[in-house]
């Protein structure tokens, strides 16, 4: 009973801790009473004393605004070549799929690298086998799905519309999709490793920074790469 009372008192203290502050009590309670870090974090963020909606809005707003500005800047690149872009219908079909794929890879790379950092597996990251395997896995899946989605987009167009995709145009679109994936996956890996190590060394949780950073770069980068390659090839 006494122990139960002590834990409850600690949890009440935790609820009063400023949201952005990492409190030593989190570590203490985790070590001493074996309460999982996720539970303690949830109590701290959304415990009875907190306003759930306000907490979520305050914590998400800045990064969502940053992400929107980045995406719009990328979109601006496409807006400038709008009429060229609209004339390449397979690329219009591919755009949301490429955007999803690259954004998802940003999330996968970031969350996996953050976990590796916490598990102490990345002291010599350039020699790390797990990281290298992840890179080649993401790259090969991305490359294969880029080819598959290009073929599907051309097939959909010929099935549903009168639009005729020439062999040369199909190959150019395929080239754009594959180069887009290879280039951005490599850039996202470089950013995840660089920024992840930086935030980890500063004793901050890389999870809170890496996903928003990599997804924003993915959105922006995808639009810019599509625009540049479309201008160069068509």
């Amino acid at each position: 009973m006494k122990l139960h009372h002590r834990i409850r008192k600690h949890l009440q203290t935790l609820q009063g801790v400023r949201k952005e502050k990492h409190h030593h009590l989190l570590h203490h309670l985790h070590q001493k009473y074996r309460i999982s870090k996720s539970t303690l974090f949830y109590v701290k963020e959304y415990g009875p004393g907190s306003h759930v909606a306000a907490t979520i809005i305050m914590e998400s707003l800045k990064i969502l605004l940053f992400s929107s500005v980045m995406s719009s800047l990328g979109g601006l690149a496409l807006e400038h070549i709008k009429f060229l872009f609209i004339s390449i219908l397979p690329l219009i079909i591919l755009m949301p799929a490429l955007n999803d794929m690259i954004g998802d890879y940003g999330t996968i790379i970031s969350s996996r690298f953050s976990t590796m950092l916490y598990e102490g597996k990345v002291s010599g990251w350039h020699r790390n086998k797990e990281l290298r395997t992840l890179f080649w896995q993401v790259l090969s899946i991305g490359g294969f799905l880029a080819v598959l989605s290009t073929v599907l987009s051309v097939a959909i167009l010929s099935f549903l519309t009168d639009y005729h995709t020439t062999l040369m145009m199909g190959l150019k679109v395929l080239f754009i999709a594959v180069v887009d994936i290879i280039l951005l996956v490599t850039i996202l890996f470089a950013i995840a490793i660089g920024a992840g190590l930086y935030f980890y060394k500063r004793q901050e949780d890389p999870n809170n920074f890496l996903i928003p950073i990599t997804t924003s770069v993915a959105d922006f980068g995808n639009m810019v790469v599509l625009a540049v390659l479309a201008v160069l090839l068509f």
């Binding site: 998400s60 999803d100 954004g103 086998k129 959105d219």
Partner: protein, 180 residues
Amino acid sequence: MSFFDKNFKEIFTSQVISILGGLLAGTILALYTNKILYIPGMLVILPGFLAMRGNISGSFASRLSAGLFLGFIKPTLRKTRIVQGNLKASFFLAIFISLVLGILAFLSNYIVWGSSSIKIILLPLIAGIIANAIEIPLTLIMTFYFFKKGHDPNNIMGPVVTSTGDITSIVALLIAVVIL
């Protein structure tokens, strides 16, 4: 560590689901190019509008999953403080970001073309309300459903949210264009 391990299979499966949704959304976009893409500023809005579903509904699903696993949230549609707070925050963020995207497109149109039509602000706002009125409750129901069926929503909801989100977003934009 094998190259074709569990991670490879999970990434591959989730990506196949994700690109199928993306291709369907892209097909709608291509079929209605003259209605959607010819609108000045639409390509400024579109990437952010599509990404918003993942950023907001994806985080919403992830918070719900964490709450479900920790026992703070019960997988029933009864009104609770945490679920209601999450719903309110997600709706607010989605509508606010839709408005911001509209303002950014308006500014780009004004600076580049000298156009001052406020329709480009209203377009993502109306589409954002329509898309999120579908997407956010859908995310809640699906997260609870997968959890109750014994699956980890964290592994499933990401691609589900991006693929359903792409389709609802494009359809909502199309409806908003027709309304305006």
